[in-house]
């Protein structure tokens, strides 16, 4: 399976099943397109005389015969090497991958179901997750860490994200749980990677120092330009949060040497020109950033609609081009959704297993209830167990485990399937009422981001060749 596209002057061919990425000239682009029409050829088919004859008949008006022959030889070589027209050898593996015994390796601790902001799009409903306000107690948190250690088998690296609501509203418990984790990891030969997601309202020097000492990653919530941020992320009294938060985030990012953090925003249909918000982050001095499409009900006025997709794709194109220029000028920055590692990315097993929600990754409520991920919290049909008894409804884990790019018709023929791994199951559920589906608007955006990310690699490889 291949995917061909043109972007920013580059002719790109992605060989989906090997992950090989080729930048080709016009001639080769047309040769590959011709060969790929209908059933994709294998080595034997490429060697048949009628293959060359067909190519010559189709393309000789535009290209010289000798060049067409040359391009076909290049295609044959790539195919022989397993870098073009590669067959899918992973599907037979899927049962093995999905039925393997999984261990829990990551928890999202809902340390506070309360928030000091009133963001309009919050899937946690201002921190309350369809329930009451609550803070996680140290006792419940301890049991969650114990549950993680016991459930993690031989896995050494364990991840715990302090999430909310706003986790800084229950900061003492965060500190105490980190201390408990550090003590337990020595006893059980584990390594905790703690992370925290915060809106920054309560951030101060003492908290910053603790975060820098203990947290592998910190996610700083901010939406971009002041007017955009303050419209969607006000305090409960309606006042904007930008002026209070931005200087604290800048200080924190600098204090971490601009590493191991993300300033993370959400874009809505109110700011479909979100590339300007990404660039605003860059202009504020941030180097690690993410701006993600809002998740919301279709009836919400700010929700992304199908008709917004062309504009969103234009924005991704614009952002990619500007990022290339900034990189060349030595002013580059990372945009989470354009990060792609063509050489050292995840193994195929990881790509087939997806995000791990409901199996490797669980969310814990302030009361100690377990859900497949933070986005399912409060939906009782997904309540999987609790930190006292562990998983009491393993059938929920089984359902999540069974979900893959091969169990969804929409994914099977999608070129981006090994990059999103089937997409967000919560989004699928929210839009289709089942996790065995795909959120179509999200898929469109994902495909565009993968295309842009690959094009940027091509452009930066070019720039590197020029130097």
């Amino acid at each position: 399976m291949i995917h061909q596209y043109r972007n920013n002057g580059y002719n790109i061919v992605l060989d989906v099943n090997s992950g090989a990425v080729h930048v080709v000239d016009e001639l080769c682009y047309d040769v590959i397109a011709h060969l790929a029409a209908g059933e994709e050829p294998d080595e034997a088919a490429l060697d048949r005389p009628e293959t060359l004859e067909g190519l010559l008949a189709a393309l000789k008006d535009r290209y010289k015969e000798e060049e067409i022959r040359e391009a076909l030889e290049d295609v044959k070589e790539l195919t022989r090497e397993g870098r073009l027209f590669t067959r899918d050898v992973f599907e037979p593996m899927i049962d093995q991958v999905k039925q393997r015994k999984t261990v829990v390796k990551a928890l999202c601790l809902h340390i506070a179901h309360d928030c000091n902001l009133a963001c309009k799009y919050c899937f946690a409903e201002e921190g309350e997750y369809h329930g009451r306000r609550a803070l996680m107690s140290y006792e419940v948190g301890k049991k969650a860490l114990d549950f993680l250690i016991v459930s993690s088998g031989n896995r050494r690296n364990l991840e715990v994200d302090f999430f909310g609501g706003e986790p800084l509203m229950n900061w003492q418990v965060v500190k105490d749980l980190v201390a408990y984790g550090r003590e337990q990891e020595k006893i059980h030969n584990k390594h905790f990677r703690f992370t925290v997601t915060t809106n920054g309202v309560l951030l101060n020097d003492e908290i910053q120092d603790f975060i820098n000492k203990e947290m592998d990653n910190v996610v700083l919530s901010l939406d971009g330009r002041k007017e955009i941020n303050d419209n969607m992320r006000p305090f409960r009294n309606g006042k904007g949060s930008y002026d209070l938060i931005v200087p604290k985030f800048q200080k924190l990012a600098d204090s971490r040497n601009q590493e191991r953090y993300y300033v993370r925003g959400t874009f809505t249909r109110n700011n479909l020109d979100f590339s300007n918000d990404v660039l605003h982050f860059a202009d504020l001095g941030f180097k690690q950033m993410s701006i993600e499409p809002v998740v919301g009900d279709e009836s919400d006025p700010y929700a992304i609609r199908e008709e917004d997709i062309p504009k969103i794709c234009e924005e991704y194109d614009r952002l990619a081009k500007i990022m290339i220029e900034r990189e060349k000028e030595g002013k580059g920055f990372n945009f989470f959704h354009f990060m792609i590692d063509l050489e050292g990315g995840p193994c195929v097993s990881k790509r087939l297993s997806g995000c791990g929600s409901g199996t490797e990754y669980l969310a814990v409520t302030p009361w100690g209830d377990l859900y497949p991920c933070h986005q399912f919290v409060g939906q009782e049909e997904f309540l999987m167990g609790n930190v006292d008894e562990g998983i009491t409804r393993p059938e929920i884990a089984d359902e999540f485990r069974g979900c893959s790019v091969y169990s969804k018709d929409k994914c099977r023929d999608c070129f981006a399937k090994f990059y999103c791994s089937g997409g967000c199951m919560a989004n699928a559920y929210n839009f289709h009422g089942t996790i065995h589906e795909a959120y179509d608007i999200g898929c469109e955006m994902q495909r565009k981001r993968v295309e842009c990310a690959i094009m940027m690699k091509a452009a930066l490889a070019d720039a590197s060749d020029e130097r």
């Binding site: 899937f123 990677r193 990653n217 792609i340 990315g345 995840p346 199951m425």
Partner: protein
Amino acid sequence: MKHVKTLNTQTLTNTMKKGGCGECQTSCQSACKTSCTVGNQTCEQKK
């Protein structure tokens, strides 16, 4: 090759041989929380 420049040497098929150790980061712990972005994660063995 005259008509093709390939950007990567590693292939997904190669990662079948090793891989699957599961020590890598869970995708939603990195930054996303609302979308699935497995492809941009880093392999723990290659850090």
